[in-house]
Structure formats: structure tokens, C-alpha cells
């Protein structure tokens, strides 16, 4: 009896705390969504609100019809995500597989070469100079794809562990007996057996590319090459500029012409997060698995 009450109290407490926490996670997104469908003059009068006085789809109509900049940025984001994730999976697995082979001479020095990059790094300033001075990547698509994101030691070692623990050496042996070369073994035996790790790492890479704004911030100044995140970033810094330099009215009114309306800005954010939110239920399984394998063994 007593136990029953205790257990029910736990359920109630658990549900109420989690419900509040879950609401805190969802409500900001909801505010974003309602703001994007609010009539512009209503926003100016009442601020962003969950229950707008007057609805309007004007922001989306404008986004669809007028805004070539946004559509191009969207295209760049999609391109960078697809190409970046593919390249990333390719070079990560190509490096991880050989160092997973226990018979490979010099595998330990190779693994250390990968591993050391996780301990020590040169930081922003030298990295910036390497990519802008040594490799002339400023204002190029390569700058969105290559620096920092393409591959990291952590993923290589994660994949190596997967290869070592799930691909039976006997399978590789028998393929070799049948006369298959190393490269052929890699792509026709190892890779097909590795879809779980590929899906997990590919997912994290895709999210990283989709969400990246840092490479664009430091390497891209040409608005034609902006990804969606960079456009959003630029709008935000314009807003900040206006609010801190309100006194400079001439410049302010001039910029005001180009600054997107309050609801339009939120509509851009919505189209930026919608693909992730829509895809989330489908990739959640791999996502949760990725978090736990990454944490357990890094």
C-alpha cells in the first residue's frame, strides 16, 4: 500500500519535472514558428508572441517569390552538406581501415599520428593563415568544406574500433584466398559490413555541415558564397549594428531598407531548422547510439 503511494508519487514528480523541461526545450521553437507567421505590424506593436493577433504568410510568400539570395544560400548549404558528408565518410574510412588491420606494419605510429591531433592543436590564428595564405581558400566553396570539418581524429579512431571489433579477420582471410586485392576487399566486404558506423558518423557529419557558420564567418566575405547559416549570421550582426549605432541615422535608415522584416527573419530561421526537425525522428536511433559509443570509448 505504502509502496504503491510512493511509486505513484515518483511517477507524478517525474512526469511534471520532465514535462516542464520538455516544454522549455520546445517552446522557443514554437515562438519562432508563430513569429514567422505573424503579421509584420503586429510584431512591431506586440512583439514576438505565441498567440499573434493577426496571422500572415507574407514572410513565406516573400521568401519563395522574391528572395534569390536565400534560395542560393539554401542551395549552398545543401551542396556543402551532401558533398562534405560523402567526402568525409570516404577519407575517414579509408584511413580507419588500414590502421584497424593488426597485421599492417607501422600501424601504431600511424594511429598515433591520428591520435595526437586530438590532444594538441594550433588554434585559430595559425589555422586561418594556413588556409588563407598557404592555400588560397578565402572566398571559395572549399573553405566551407575543408577546414576543421572534413575529418577528425576522433571519428577515425571510432571507426577503427568498429572495424577491429565487428569484422572477423577470417572473412578478410578467405577473401584474400579467393584472390581479392586489398582495395577490393575494402569496398566490397568491409564497407558493406559497416553501415551502422557509417550511418552514425555520417549523421554527425551531416549535422555539423548543415549547422556550420564558423568557416563562413572567417573565410567567406562574398555574400554569393554564404550558406544559410552565414546569411542568418549577417542579418543578426546588421541588427546589432543598427541597435548600437542608432545615432548614425543616415546609415541606419539606409541599412533599414535592406534589413529583412521581423517575420521574414524568423521565416528564414524556420526553413533552416525544418529539415533537421523533420528528419530527426528517422535518424534519432543512430543519433542516440552515436552519442553513447562516442562517450564510452573515445
Amino acid at each position: 500500500m505504502n509502496r504503491n503511494i510512493e511509486s505513484r508519487a515518483w511517477q507524478w514528480a517525474g512526469h511534471s519535472i520532465l514535462l516542464v523541461y520538455a516544454a522549455a526545450c520546445v517552446l522557443p521553437f514554437l515562438l519562432l514558428l508563430t513569429s514567422s507567421v505573424t503579421d509584420e505590424s503586429t510584431i512591431i506593436k506586440n512583439g514576438y508572441s505565441f498567440f499573434p493577433e493577426k496571422f500572415s504568410l507574407e514572410a513565406y510568400r516573400y521568401l519563395w517569390n522574391e528572395s534569390t539570395d536565400i534560395l542560393r544560400a539554401y542551395g549552398i548549404t545543401v551542396f556543402v552538406t551532401v558533398v562534405g558528408t560523402t567526402l568525409s565518410l570516404a577519407i575517414t574510412s579509408m584511413l580507419a581501415y588500414p590502421i584497424s588491420r593488426r597485421d599492417l606494419p607501422y600501424r601504431n605510429p600511424l594511429a598515433f599520428y591520428v591520435f595526437f591531433t586530438m590532444l594538441f592543436n594550433g588554434g585559430l590564428v595559425p589555422t586561418y593563415f594556413v588556409f588563407t595564405q598557404v592555400f588560397d581558400m578565402k572566398n571559395s566553396l572549399a573553405a566551407l568544406l575543408i577546414p576543421a570539418l572534413l575529418m577528425n581524429g576522433f571519428n577515425v579512431l571510432l571507426m577503427r574500433t568498429f572495424f577491429m571489433t565487428t569484422i572477423p579477420p577470417a572473412v578478410l582471410e578467405s577473401a584474400k584466398m579467393d584472390g581479392a586485392g586489398e582495395i577490393r576487399i575494402f569496398y566490397s566486404i568491409v564497407l558493406p559490413l559497416s553501415t551502422p558506423i557509417m550511418a552514425t558518423i555520417g549523421l554527425f557529419q551531416a549535422i555539423a555541415y548543415w549547422n556550420d557558420w564558423f568557416n563562413g564567418l572567417i573565410y567567406i566575405t562574398d555574400p554569393k558564397l554564404f550558406s544559410l547559416q552565414n546569411i542568418l549570421n549577417r542579418i543578426m550582426s546588421d541588427i546589432q549594428f543598427l541597435s548600437t549605432n542608432a545615432a548614425m541615422s543616415a546609415r541606419a535608415s539606409e541599412s533599414m531598407m535592406t534589413l529583412p522584416s521581423a517575420s521574414f527573419r524568423m521565416a528564414i530561421v524556420v526553413v533552416g531548422v525544418i529539415p533537421i526537425l523533420l528528419a530527426y525522428p528517422f535518424f534519432q536511433k543512430y543519433f542516440v547510439k552515436g552519442i553513447t559509443i562516442g562517450a564510452v570509448k573515445g
Binding site: A22, V26, G47, L95, G122, A148, W213, Q240, I276, I291
Partner: protein
Amino acid sequence: MQKPTAPKRWLTMKTYAPLYLLTLPGLLYLLINNYMPMFGLVIAFKDVNFSKGILGSDWVGFKNFEYLFKSSDAILITRNTLLYNAVFIVLNLIVAVGVAILLNEIRNKLLARFYQSVVLLPYLISMVIVSYLGYALLSMDTGFLNKTILPALGMEEIAWYNEPKYWPYILTLVHTWKGAGFLCVVYLAAIIGIDQEYYEAATLDGASKWQQIRSITLPLITPVIIMMTLLAIGRIFYSDFGLFYQVPMDSGSLFNVTNVIDTYVYRGLMQLGDIGMSSAAGMYQSLVGFVLVLLSNYVVRKINRENALF
């Protein structure tokens, strides 16, 4: 062990050549993306002059470091970086373990799954998007707080982006909001891994839920807690650039409470053109960060070899 003779060694290398070939793109990438910048750290000892090229610029010894550590900035950014991260580590730990325990207790598995999905949502979006969510709440003229919440409470509007005193709380809140879900998944996996027999035995002995959590769940996930915390401490000298740059909207009046090493290095390089200071601060971060990673790993190794990085 006998050394392989020359022809034999050549044969080995030949059989493994395709495998070495596979590693080339990856090794090359790490060379460019990771090792070249490491050597590039020497620019902290130079007075960078673009007309002479970076390698051709004059050596100035430790002058950049002297300037950096004489300025009040060095102490400020170090203090901010360490304090924020320390608070983040503690708070994330408490929230994540707490939520993981509750998620495990919930009997309705469908709802538990729903909660878990939802608390991970903030982790999926970029800091730029987070700054827009923050702006929708905090904006002076159109923010939800200023226009709806504060008037309802009969309070004055607040110029959030110009008031440093609120930002330690805002940043902490945003960081926990965005990151705790991730850690929660890790701890939940650890809790699920606990053998159910412990709980059955405890229930037979009449232990309450609270007692079970205190004497079974918490002790059994302590190793995971220690590992995760030590790894975070190893990274305490690095901060989330996006959080400190995007969420306060790069607002100058907040720098005292929002400037951390990463934002300082960025502003020195990209906005102020003060490459000397910037690279000195960057090297300071790299070196102290390296020592801290080694130290925390050393401690992890003492506790549990399995979980150590090396």
C-alpha cells in the same frame, strides 16, 4: 626475432602498398588541417608583417606574450573561461544525471521516449539559430520577455543586450539548455546497463526508491560520471565560441562578462587586426589546454585504464 631480409621486406611493403595508399588522403588532410597549424604557432613569436610574408616576418621573442599578460585582458579572459566552464560542468552534471534518473523511472515507455527526443532537440541546432531564439525572447523592442512577460508582472522593460549583470545567468541557462540533453543520453545508457537484480533485491529488503537511487544507481554510474567530468575538465581551457559570440550578439557593452579566450583570439584576428596578441593568446590556450588534457587523462588512467584516451 630475426630481421626480415631486404627482398622479404620489399615484398611485405608491396603487399601492403594498397592499404598505405588508402591512408594517404586522410594523412594529408591531418597534415594540412592539424599539423601545419601546430607549426604555425611560431607566429606568436613574430611581428607579423604581410609585406614580408609570415615566415619572413621579424622574430620578436616573447614580446607578444609580454603585452598580453601585462594587459588586464589576460586575467579577464582566463577568469571568464575557467569560471563559466566550471559552472557549466557542475550544472550540466546535476541536470543530466537528474533527468536521466527520472527518465529511467518513468513507467510509460512511450512518453519516456518522447521526453528523451525532446530534450535532445536543442543539441541539434546551430548557435546562430540559438541566437535567434534568444533574440525572440530578449530583443528590446519586440522580445517576448519585454513585451509579454515583464508587463504582465508589472515590471519595466530591460535592455538585455546592454546589461552585463544578467549575462552570466543567461549564458549558463543557454548552455545547459543546449548541452544537458546530450550528457543525459550518456548517463541514461549507463543507468539502463545496471543489472536489474540489484533493484529487485533492494525492493525485497524494503528499500524505498530514494534509497535505491542513492545506494544503487548513483554509486554504479559514478565511474561514468567521473570519466565524463574529467574529460570536460581536460577541455576547461576551451570554450564554446558560438555561445559567447553569437548568443550575446557580439555586443560590446557585455564584453566584460562574455569575453573568453576563444572570442578574444577571434576578435584580435578578424576584427582588430592585432595578430600578435591574438596568436599569443591562442598559443597560451593551446599549451595550457594540452597540459590539462594530459593531466586529466593521467587521472582517468589511474582510475580506470579502459576509459583513458591513452
